[in-house]
């Protein structure tokens, strides 16, 4: 039952982790809007979530019967691939931050975090209801 509990919450846990990471990256983009040569970064959220899900689905450790067996790379589970944003218009100072795009993405991501929290909350409430009857 405990493993089931973990499974229930796992999806939103992973999604929330990635969402907060993306929020941080977007905040960095907005903060660096006036820095020459700064390149705006972002992650591909759905791809990153899929990768995190497939990593988290298996058991935590591999059974090794020989020292020559390869082990999966340790750590870095939360690290999604950082990509560069393609600018719609070039700027003179080489900065690729488009404030409209960044602000829109920032607001969009914030709403997604809120939605994630709401879903998580309702799941917790449902479980609590099952416990308390």
């Amino acid at each position: 039952m405990i493993s089931k509990l973990d499974e229930t919450l796992n999806f939103h846990h992973q999604a929330l982790n990635l969402r907060t990471q993306r929020q941080q990256i977007l905040a960095g983009n907005i903060a660096n809007a006036d820095v020459p040569q700064f390149k705006a970064r972002d992650i591909d959220f759905s791809k990153a979530l899929k990768a995190a899900q497939s990593q988290g689905a298996g058991s935590t450790a591999l059974n090794v019967t020989s020292p020559r067996h390869l082990l999966p790379a340790a750590g870095g589970s939360a690290g999604a691939d950082l990509l560069y944003r393609l600018p719609h218009q070039d700027s003179v100072d080489g900065n690729t931050v488009d404030m409209d795009v960044e602000r829109a993405q920032f607001a969009d991501n914030a709403i997604h975090v809120e939605a994630n929290l709401t879903f998580l909350n309702s799941q917790l409430k449902a479980m609590l209801a099952a416990i308390q009857g």
């Binding site: 907060t20 929020q23 960095g28 809007a33 950082l82």
Partner: protein, 134 residues
């Protein structure tokens, strides 16, 4: 929780932009200072922004890498009665471009507002996280 890093990033941007605003204020108020503490006419100052690492996850804040003096030529105005006028009657005035400084000021103020907005959003999200399970 990487949402806390948004606070660090936004505050680094706010500090940098307020220093830029500071420099703009200094330039504008000294736009007519024909002499300064070192005896020379005032030279316009500009801040240089650079990216500063805040966390290991790829996001970065801003820092002021330095304040440079504008090397563009000084303005010369013809005013023979001025005590600082040279033999030909010209006074060397600061190379502050007032229009440029006004644009700089508006840009800095908008960027500052953006950072405040970012901080507010992060705060709302964190407060919502705190109510989880209640």
């Amino acid at each position: 929780m990487s949402l806390f890093n948004v606070f660090d990033i936004a505050s680094s941007a706010m500090a940098a932009q307020s220093q830029r605003l500071n420099v703009v204020a200094s330039n504008l108020s000294n736009a007519d200072s024909a002499t300064s503490s070192n005896g020379q006419p005032y030279r316009a100052r500009q801040v240089v922004f650079a990216t500063a690492d805040v966390s290991a996850q790829g996001a970065s804040g801003v820092k002021v890498a330095g304040v440079t003096e504008d090397q563009s030529p000084m303005k010369k105005i013809y005013e023979p009665k001025h005590p600082l006028a040279d033999k030909e009657g010209y006074v060397t005035m600061p190379n502050v471009n007032v229009v440029e400084e006004m644009v700089n000021m508006i840009s800095a103020s908008r960027s500052y507002q953006n950072s405040v907005d970012m901080m507010n959003t992060a705060k709302t999200l964190l407060l919502k996280t705190l109510t989880l399970g209640q």
